[in-house]
């Protein structure tokens, strides 16, 4: 068995799991992690990690400000808004 602390992992992911779900996911994750653990059998000494398959062709564009959205558009999907802002509960006392 692996040492998965499901409470800690779900806390990091901002997810809340009830006791029943936490137990199910802990079991499921343990099985999956055990399954992927076969990678340890492979010698990767000296191999460079591959982050992106197109590593040699990153196409960066100039850092220019483009005005493509109006405030109204940006806010159009907001669950709660007030004037020109996203509305959230009070953050500072």
């Amino acid at each position: 068995m692996s040492d998965i602390n499901i409470k800690k992992v779900s806390y990091l992911a901002k997810l809340e799991l009830n006791e029943e779900k936490a137990a199910l996911y802990e079991k499921s994750l343990s099985e999956i992690i055990e399954w992927v653990d076969n990678l340890k059998k492979l010698d990767t000494e000296g191999v460079e990690p591959l982050h992106n398959i197109t590593e040699k062709s990153q196409n960066l564009r100039n850092d220019e400000v483009l005005k493509e959205n109006s405030t109204e558009q940006v806010l159009s999907n907001a669950p709660e808004k007030a004037q020109n802002f996203f509305r959230v509960p009070k953050v500072v006392e």
Binding site: I4, I6, K8, V9, S10, L12, A13, K14, L15, E16, L17, Y25, S28, L29, E31, I32, I33, W35, V36, D37, N38, L39, K40, L42, T44, V47, E48, P49, L50, H51, N52, I53, T54, S57, Q58, N59, L60, R61, E68, N69, Q73, V74, S76, N77, A78, P79, E80, F86, V88, P89, V91
Partner: protein, 479 residues
């Protein structure tokens, strides 16, 4: 099923109007009981586009996809049209902008019939993780006609709709097999282009180093038509290649003027069932008839591909899905503090499989495990890429089965690992970023469609489609 070229001829010859064509598909789609669309667009909604398309036909100035009714996987942002990723968390999301891929399709005159159902956030291989319910495969097991079968996933709605004939073609996305596997299980063509061919801008992100858009169609030629439209450079996606694109239609149906070698990896065929083995044997015969050289090849990394994928893809997903916090868009849960809103929005908004992937990803990226899992998997990914390049020194294409089995029953409730094994033949190609096409090759003993996968080298879609079109003619699957 009529091809895009045939439909365009009908429209040019005025045998049918763009409006009639759209209404025809719309009515079929509306009557369908397979749940392959999350959202259908009424003829009235598309009125302006239909009229301008008709006007271009009337002037003989029709565009490459003019008037063609397409399905779009509900993962592409479509301006003013709900885009849900089949998730509760995006149930009411209406984008204010158009994805690059769908904008290209609109620029070429196509009409969007609606948004195709898919697995939630494209995470699944059976289309059963959708918040809007499973999609049903139009095919039936001849020995068990009562049971409903999965279409595969995650682009299950796209594949089911194309197979049922309620849209001419559909655009899906493929991260580890999400175009090719459902295409295979529904008896249609599915192409995953080289990573970097099509812009990911405006596509709801799952795993950014793997996600790629591609066509699901009834023929190889249709796939070429669509690839011509969707493959283009986009400054908004830094991983989208800037090379000049080929015309992919030109070579479809033409014989090769050079000797072609196809490699068949013996390690892929170790444990396959007799249905799948028959597809490969049958394909070999056709290849020999086409004067193609067949050689045995062997990978050294195949056994590690799924493990690598199920570390990297969830890791990228956990990072990408961090944006769903209930603040700027999407579902918001109740809460008296920001923290409570984050947690309740995510816990209530995401489905079971999405939560599992986020948890796996968070675990493998967390302090103390990063090197052992994430970094290790990235190193193995390079070995997988090198393994393919070694084999491409000897061959032009690689032939494998697309899936290890035929379509299975809805609700069979496979455990996660058994479900993940469905992508055993498609995942290595995804990790290497190579282009691959699934082609319907025949039927199983139960009368269900099966496909073979042809894999090409980087950006060799033109010759890949050419090879596929020659095999397609041999298989006569649609006749």
């Amino acid at each position: 099923m009529p091809t895009i070229k045939e439909i365009k001829n009908q429209l040019s010859n005025k045998n049918i109007s763009v409006q009639e064509l759209y209404n025809d598909y719309y009515n079929k789609a509306k009557k369908s009981k397979l749940n392959s669309f999350n959202h259908l667009l009424e003829p009235e909604y598309n009125k302006e586009n239909i009229n301008s398309s008709q006007a271009r036909y009337d002037e003989g100035k029709d565009l490459s996809l003019d008037g063609i009714p397409l399905g779009i996987k509900d993962l592409f942002c479509t301006k003013g049209v709900p885009t849900t990723a089949s998730s509760k968390i995006l149930e009411k999301f209406i984008p204010e902008y158009e994805s690059r891929v769908t904008q290209n399709l609109l620029n070429d005159g196509s009409l969007f019939l609606g948004k195709n159902n898919c697995d939630e956030f494209a995470m699944g291989s059976s289309n059963e993780t959708s918040f809007f319910g499973p999609v049903i495969n139009p095919w039936k097991n001849k020995n068990n006609t009562d049971s409903q079968l999965v279409p595969g996933g995650s682009s299950g709605g796209s594949a089911s709709a194309v197979a049922e004939g309620i849209c001419v073609a559909s655009i899906g996305t493929d991260t580890g097999g999400s175009i090719r596997q459902p295409a295979s299980l529904c008896g249609v063509v599915g192409l995953k282009p080289t990573f970097g061919s099509c812009s990911r801008w405006g596509v709801v992100a799952f795993a950014s180093s793997l996600d790629q858009a591609g066509p699901i169609t009834n023929s190889v030629e249709d796939a070429a038509y669509l690839l011509n439209s969707i493959s283009s450079h986009d400054p908004n996606d830094s991983t989208c290649s800037s090379h000049k694109r080929d015309n992919f239609i030109e070579s479809v149906g033409k014989s090769f003027d050079r000797p072609i070698t196809v490699g068949i990896p013996s390690d892929y065929l170790k444990d396959i069932n007799s249905d799948i083995a028959e597809q490969i044997e049958n394909t070999k015969k056709h290849l020999l008839k086409l004067n193609v050289n067949i050689v045995d090849v062997e990978f050294t990394t195949t056994d590690f591909a799924l493990s690598t994928y199920y570390i990297l893809a969830p890791a990228e997903a956990s990072s990408n899905l961090a944006r769903y916090d209930g603040i700027r868009y999407g579902y918001r849960g109740e809460g008296n503090t920001l923290e409570e809103i984050y947690i309740n929005s995510r816990s209530e908004g995401f489905g079971e499989e999405v939560i599992r992937r986020i948890l796996i990803g968070t675990y493998v990226l967390s302090a103390g495990y990063y090197d052992a899992y994430y970094r290790k998997a990235q190193k193995v990914r390079r070995l997988i890429k090198n393994d393919f390049q070694r084999i491409y020194n000897e061959v032009d294409f690689i032939l494998t089965p697309t899936t290890p089995n035929e379509a299975f029953q809805i609700g069979k409730k496979l455990d996660p690992i058994s479900m993940y094994m469905n992508d055993i033949f498609t995942v290595p190609t995804s990790l290497a970023g190579l282009p691959a096409i699934s082609l319907p090759s025949g039927l199983s003993n139960n009368g269900l469609p099966l496909g073979i996968q042809l894999i090409g080298n980087y950006f060799q879609e033109k010759s890949l489609l050419q090879m596929a079109s020659l095999l397609e003619k041999e298989f006569c699957f649609n006749e």
